[in-house]
Amino acid sequence: MSDKPVKFYTKDKAHKDAEKLLEDNVLGDSSGSPLTESSQNKPLLPESAVKVGFKGNKAKSWLRKLFWPSLSTFIVFAAGYEAYGFVTELIETNWLLGAVAGLIASAVVISGGFALFKGWRARRQFKKREQQQATLRRLLSDNSYGKASQVLEEVTHDIEEYVNVTSLENDFEKKKQQVHNDHELIQIYSGTVLKGLDKMAIDIVTKHASEAAAMVALSPLAAADMALVAWRSSKMIEQLSRLYGCPQTALGRFEMTKRVFKNMMLAGASELVADAGVELLGKSLTATISAKAAQGIGVGVLIARMGLQTMHLCRPVPFGQENKPRLGQIRKSIYQKVAGLVKTASTGKSDKSKDTIEKKK
């Protein structure tokens, strides 16, 4: 770039060529996509710069890596071979039976392949999201200009596939100015588009958590409780990840669930300390209701916390101190749901009839 002051008048070519910055990406062209750039300049990534730890044992990890793919290929190969033998045997006995079996087998292969493909895509999307998060986090701490808009556009594009965010996006477009640097731009994006999504996400978490709490409070079987928790939480994670534009399917969700639990154990520990006071207070309340209801509330809080962790993982821009979602609100609605259930259960029908009479009056 030139370092000398220059002036272009109306008659100059440069003046005519000048593009207004309102159309973005003007800067991006020369430097290339910030995403690819960041993957090339690995040292710039904060994670790799900060991480201090054991050196990976390369040979061992390579051998270890080989285990699962080879095992699965072997199983697939063996199963395919067996299936082939099985179908040919059936054809020899009766061609109709064989054809049906063959058809079913091919359906299994096709649907399985499709599921695998979707899982792979979801995984890739999750990886991409992680990279976006790293880039945005870096831009938030840098004093750069003109790099964020491209990443943000990409993120919006991802989200738009699943959620209608036109009004939120218009709000963002209205609020941003050409002079905003990356830090400000990301803040505005976080305050408009993502804030809208956060609200919806909290609704989803509240809904699932309080529903699960109610179900566990009512269900008579411990085994059923576990199944319920698994079902509701997986449903919730699916919906949340869809909302933030990186939907996770069965396979990917497994990875995601693993991460969520890991984060809950690690990052959650500090939150636990902060929440402990409130929770103790809560316990005395729950104890008075009943053991089962307390279990329900416990499960509800657990699912809510899982939901919040999922939000942390999926949100392209990390939460700030002031917009961080808090467990308090969700817990309140869980209490209300379970407490309402217990009340109606304990007072029984007489109460209900009273209500209707009062309403009639």
Partner: protein, 474 residues
């Protein structure tokens, strides 16, 4: 019912008093830094905020909690009102001009009605009012502040250093010789002495004023009222000048007689300090909660190493006054209670947006020591690159085969649309050699056509407002 209402109003009053929803902002800056434009823009943004909701980083506005704002009459009736409508008319007229520079202290008061956001306070009162007072005053007078910490002797010593700098020498040589030849021991008739002093003082003032016209920089040799006397024009208290004889300065002045010309000069200096500067700052600093210091980094960059050093020195001295330690003289005098200080570099609309951060960090380096001192006292300090009234828009163009970010505006003298690249703004302090090599040129643009119904175009005014008063809107 009556009782309930009474309790309600009482509790509202209590809350307002407890939360202290009054903010008094002092707009500080040397002349030419854009204080009047800043004050005008700030009032304008606040008045337009409830209607347009355009202040993205002003959280109460972004949350749509702002209901209405209006200009009101302030309590301190002896301070003139800030002429907001006049300043705005200047900006939006057919041949727009910058508002006239401030010639006296003035104050504006805005009341902002908003919905309470805090979830506990919300239960007690649904909406409330924040009163924002903005005080504007001539930047020239600010130069007086450091004088308060000096006596006549140390002021003279500081002046010798200042007057003998390379650039100023040619302007001040004549008067310096004259002052050196002045007979300090003479015992004259009062009226004759007064006349003589006035003659020399006038010459002293004139020589520095002509220097200042050429270079527009700031120093301690020229007390503020010398440049802008206000009501003090021709008053004898302004007829003094520094002692420039080194040997005289090393003497003990006790031996001089009370009515010797030296003692008369000292008396005038002290009178100026006690009766002019002190009352002004006393009134000015009491009850100020927040302060913004505006620095015109653009013109510093343009005018080179010497004015950089001058400004750095002056800013350090100014902020020294604002660091409110226990042993601080300003604290002892006025006990100010400033808890937030913003140091902003103005006129960044002349700089392409990708260089704003460089501009900010250059300014940061300049005030680093002073900022550190203030921060140590527990005052929240922030720096920012802002433009109160933006006169340009950023564009990208091609130059020598490369993309170049520029600013586009209207050239001041020709009225022609022009795209300007000011050169590379340094992001750190420069050595003398680097200063000489620095090739930079910020051409000021003319004010574009502005509409009365829309908020003035600005850069980061919303962030400034959030920092200064955002925490009061809870």
């Amino acid at each position: 019912m009556d009782l309930i209402d009474k309790v309600k109003t009482k509790s509202n009053e209590l809350i307002d008093r407890g939360l202290n929803r009054n903010v008094r902002i002092a707009v500080t800056g040397l002349s030419g830094a854009g204080k009047t434009a800043f004050t005008t823009s700030m009032i304008n943004q606040l008045l337009q905020a409830p209607i347009e909701e355009h202040l993205t980083f002003f959280s109460v506005n972004a949350q749509s909690r702002m209901q209405a704002c209006k200009l009101t009459q302030h309590q301190e009736l002896h301070i003139p009102s800030f002429d907001y409508s006049g300043a705005l008319t200047h900006l939006i007229s057919d041949s727009p001009q910058w508002p006239e520079s401030t010639r006296n202290v003035s104050q504006a008061q805005i009341k902002c009605r908003f919905r309470v956001g805090h979830r506990w306070i919300k239960k007690l009162q649904s909406d409330s009012t924040v009163t924002v007072e903005i005080v504007d005053y001539p930047g020239e007078w600010l130069l007086d502040l450091p004088l308060l910490a000096m006596d006549y002797k140390s002021w003279s010593k500081a002046c010798i250093k200042y007057l003998n700098s390379e650039r100023r020498k040619q302007y001040t040589e004549g008067i310096q010789n004259k002052i050196r030849a002045f007979d300090y021991k003479s015992l004259q008739d009062e009226t004759a002495l007064a006349k003589e002093l006035k003659g020399v003082a006038n010459e002293y003032r004139a020589s520095l004023s002509s220097y200042r016209n050429d270079y527009n920089d700031y120093g301690l040799a020229l007390p503020g009222r010398f440049i802008l006397p206000g009501a003090l024009a021709d008053a004898p208290t302004l007829d003094f000048f520094p002692v420039l004889n080194e040997d005289l300065l090393s003497l003990d002045w006790e031996q001089f007689e009370q009515n010797s010309s030296l003692k008369v000069l000292e008396k005038r200096f002290n009178y100026y300090k006690e009766k002019v500067i002190k009352p002004f700052f006393e009134e000015y600093f009491t009850k100020v909660d927040r302060q913004i210091v505006l620095i015109d980094t653009c013109s510093v960059l343009e005018s080179g190493y010497e004015s950089y050093q001058d400004l750095k020195d002056t800013v350090e001295r100014l902020l020294e006054g604002f660091s409110y330690g226990r042993s601080n003289w300003l604290k002892r005098l006025f006990s100010p209670s400033i808890d937030k200080l913003m140091i902003a570099t103005t006129k960044v609309d002349l700089v392409p947006p990708d260089q704003h951060s460089a501009m900010e960090s250059f300014m940061q380096k300049m005030v680093a020591q002073a900022k550190n001192n203030v921060g140590y006292e527990g005052v929240e300090v922030e720096t920012m690159a802002i433009s109160a009234v933006a006169t340009s828009e950023p564009v990208a163009t091609e130059h020598e085969g490369e993309k170049l970010l520029c600013v586009k505006g209207i050239e001041e003298h020709s009225g022609e649309s022009v795209i300007h690249y000011p050169g590379r703004v340094p992001s750190k302090g420069l050595s003398r050699q680097e200063w000489n090599d620095l090739d930079i040129d910020f051409a000021p643009f003319a004010i574009p056509e502005l509409s009365e119904d829309e908020a003035l175009p600005h850069i980061r005014m919303d962030k400034v407002i959030e920092f200064l008063i955002g925490d009061k809107f809870i």
